[in-house]
Amino acid sequence: QLTPSSLLRIGQLSNVDLNEDVHELETELPRQRPNEIPHNEKLLSLKYESLDYDNSENQLFLEEERRINHAAFRTVEIKRWVICAMIGILTGLVACFIDIVVENLAGLKYRVVKDNIDKFTAKGGLSFSLLLWATLNASVVMVGSMIVAFIEPVAAGSGIPQIKCYLNGVKIPHVVRLKTLVIKVCGVILSVVGGLAVGKEGPMIHSGSVIAAGISQGRSTSLKRDFKIFEYFRRDTEKRDFVSAGAAAGVSAAFGAPVGGVLFSLEEGASFWNQFLTWRIFFASMISTFTLNSVLSVYHGNAWDLSSPGLINFGRFDSEKMGYTIQEIPIFIFMGVVGGILGALFNALNYWLTMFRIRYIHRPCLQVVEAMLVAAVTATVGFVMIYCSRDCQPIQGSSVAYPLQLFCADGEYNSMATAFFNTPEKSVVNLFHDPPGSYNPMTLGMFTLMYFFLACWTYGLTVSAGVFIPSLLIGAAWGRLFGISLSYLTKGSIWADPGKYALMGAAAQLGGIVRMTLSLTVIMMEATGNVTYGFPIMLVLMTAKIVGDYFVEGLYDMHIQLQSVPFLHWEAPVTSHSLTAREVMSTPVTCLRRIERVGTVVDILSDTSSNHNGFPVVESNPDTTQVAGLRGLILRSQLIVLLKHKVFVERANLNLVQRRLKLKDFRDAYPRFPPIQSIHVSQDERECMIDLSEFMNPSPYTVPQEASLPRVFKLFRALGLRHLVVVDNRNEVVGMVTRKDLARYRLGKEGLEELSLAQT
């Protein structure tokens, strides 16, 4: 442990070094042999970088902002509203597309399998039906998994963790590209049709976000089309706001819950928030659910009926039996406890599985094979359960879509088949609304058990699919079972309606797995269309979260951690007050002088060992003994644009006719700046000088070395910074705090933990 005085000295020393030539120093540092360890959850990946949520307030920016008058700002505001409307409409349309295609393809599949089973039930040879079902599932899932694994791996999973990271300020490569959207939509259709234990609701949030990010930029880099509109919004700050609107529109289309969508964005996503943004996001959500509603009602033949506001519709819960009394509240809370425990078990199992997958199943072909196997096993488990079930229900008066008779008497159907032989969304609604007595307790118990493991196994596969619906389904099954046993215990009291308990069980299970509170309460409330359920659902979700958090964290947070993403939570870890900026920062810092040699800049940028993105700019005083104070901060992307346009002092002096660089040149390159390798700088040009003063951000945020970690964290988190310069009392650069420096402190089981950086 160094004493403060020695630390100070080191700070000064390294600062002096910086002014000479940091590069030589860095290469001289004795580099240890690369230390290899197996993947674990206590890592931060170097792959992830921050987004620039803080505007670089350089001269160009200020000039442009000054040029824009009041009326022009109003136009910008109107454009924001137009974009939000478009986000809503397009998200709704994508949701419609997914819904219609899934309905038709899944209907086709189930009809084929049903006909086959009916045929072989009479003649014998049901093993062929089993094979047919398993092969159909596996081949559909194979296609779905292949496009994800080979074309766009970031489209795997529900996408909610990724969007959460994006809104937190982490740049996940490829996450908001058009290609990702296409793969996501196709992938989700194929995995639902493939009969996996997945839902199509989670991916809608990702789809909405991609749509938002795409529209707000007015161009597509994937398609190489630039519509020359919305150029003002081509920066991370603006894009982020639209992405949160897109996420909200996605939730709203998925569940028919516009308010829930806004709250979801608030709770899970947007780390940065204001009232106008909320109002715009709400607008986008409403448009989205309305679009879905009107298009689907036209599709279903009763135009302007507006009866299907979301992809999943929980149906109406307004009959007298569905009401609850105050005496039932303790029962609901107990269900919340059960949901929390089961959710924690789900997450813990999924944690081990995901760890195994990251370590061993990292090759795309293995991932595809795994997905196919899961699909085949899902079909097999379903078939065996249906085969073994002797729970027959009369077909009359029931609304089963694909009644399988199998070994039941004529005119009856297998009750297990309504749960397994159906898309998960339909099964959830059946569990909520089928009249009491439609399911045997035995059937429900077996179904819960099997589906629990299947869903847990499925989440984390390389297919794009969500976990909302499987969680709801597991919860609805055990909730209904609970309700049935309750009515058995109370000798069939009127209040013990199994549908109501199925709903509470679904809420408890989902809350126990994803640990969302406010937004999930509102989403469930809006999806049931019954405001009086707000109170019990809130209690259930609260209990589930408290109980679950006692064991493990939520599924999304867990996956973010397993991906080694430098995610910043709301607050710094509670016991971190003893740490100061001096211990947190990275040092020494690679600095640039205000007027720098081009060769130095190119060397710094092309150095692979230090892939820095922000460089403090110091006074270009040739006299090294003098203090060189901090003058500003310049980003790698800006430097690259400068090099590309060859903005060199000598060229300006030579009176070459040269256009003055504008902010537009930086925007045009956004968001995919070319790598430094693609920029050619000749030997002569290396000797030129480059003047950064016009392009750097002259007022970067700084903290003194003595600032505590929570203070640094607050500044960083609240302003959405990417670089925070640490200076001493003479305004000399001592160190730099970036996202990874802050994210590596985490509250673990034994107090404060420090994560290590790793190349992944």
């Binding site: 197996p38 890592l43 093993s127």
Partner: protein, 299 residues
């Protein structure tokens, strides 16, 4: 002031009683009665035309109720009662349309349908309509609701045939036969039963394709119930539909498929190279040992 409602009520009751009961009260007699109740005779509560309409409706609903009740089990509602229902509809329609001759505001529709809180005529007609809808009778009637549709006739024909076949084959046997001894029936009636079943399934499919809305997804109750009875007889009582259960191949195939993931995970655990992460040393003050070197070098 207080006396006015009471005679009015008596009047209404009298009127209803008169309409429903077999005893018809002539107009003259009514006037006398009214007189004795304290009301002027030239101000009748119900006009004669209205009274007769009401009486017709009451008779019609009684007949329909009788018909529905008698045909509740086995269900023959649509076949037997569609005439009654149609007549009742017409009667109700004429009440709703009819206009008394005294004045525009004092027509039959108003005085019969909406002049009291109970509105018994409306309630009755709603009840019949709902029952008819729930039974889905429109489905097995012709488009103009006169008589059964062709497909229904065909179905009922087949149904009767199979019932006859069942009876025929059971007659020969003794009454005290064991429950499993219905092989004769199963063998002989299989053809008719299969035909009936197929026809039913076909009707159902056609119906489902035709109708989009919720309740028309069902066939009419007569057909459904007939099929239900037959199926119950066939597979519960006679135990005829014995599907061949091929448990062994199913177990074999499923255990093979369930075995595959184990192989997959084991092999990938054993053969796949574990992914290693390369740790990067952060450049920090206390963790960076090389800083000491810098210090030495430059001091």
């Amino acid at each position: 002031l207080c006396r006015v409602p009471l005679p009015a009520l008596t009047l209404a009751l009298l009127g209803l009683a008169a309409a429903a009961g077999p005893r018809q009260i002539p107009t003259l007699e009514l006037a006398e009665e009214l007189w004795s109740a304290g009301l002027p005779g030239d101000l009748p509560e119900l006009e004669p035309e209205c009274r007769s309409l009401l009486a017709a409706f009451a008779e019609g609903s009684a007949a329909l109720t009788d018909c529905l009740g008698r045909r509740a089990r086995p269900v023959r509602l649509c076949q037997g009662c569609h005439g009654h229902y149609r007549r009742l509809l017409a009667q109700y329609g004429s009440i709703a349309r009819a206009v008394g001759n005294s004045s525009e505001s004092h027509n039959c529709a108003k005085s019969i349908l909406t002049s009291d809180r109970l509105q018994i005529v409306v309630t009755l007609s709603e009840f019949f309509n709902e029952t008819w809808e729930a039974a889905n009778c429109a489905n097995c009637l012709k488009n103009n609701s006169e008589g059964l549709s062709n497909s229904t006739e065909e179905f009922l024909d087949l149904f009767n045939k199979s019932l006859t076949c069942f009876e025929h084959n059971l007659q020969g046997q003794a009454i005290d036969l064991s429950p499993n001894n219905y092989t004769e029936v199963c063998k002989n009636c299989n053809e008719t039963y299969t035909k009936l079943n197929d026809l039913y399934n076909r009707l159902q499919r056609v119906n489902r394709q035709g109708g989009e809305s919720e309740h028309s997804a069902h066939l009419c109750i007569d057909v459904e119930d007939a099929m239900n009875i037959t199926r119950k007889l066939w597979s519960r009582t006679f135990n005829c539909s014995l599907p061949c259960s091929d448990t062994v191949p199913v177990i074999a195939v499923s255990s093979f498929i369930l075995f595959l993931p184990i192989v997959f995970y084991l092999s990938s655990f054993l053969h796949s190279k574990q992914k290693k992460r390369i740790l990067i040393l952060p450049k920090r003050i206390q963790s960076n040992a090389s800083l000491v070197n810098i210090q030495e070098k430059y001091s």
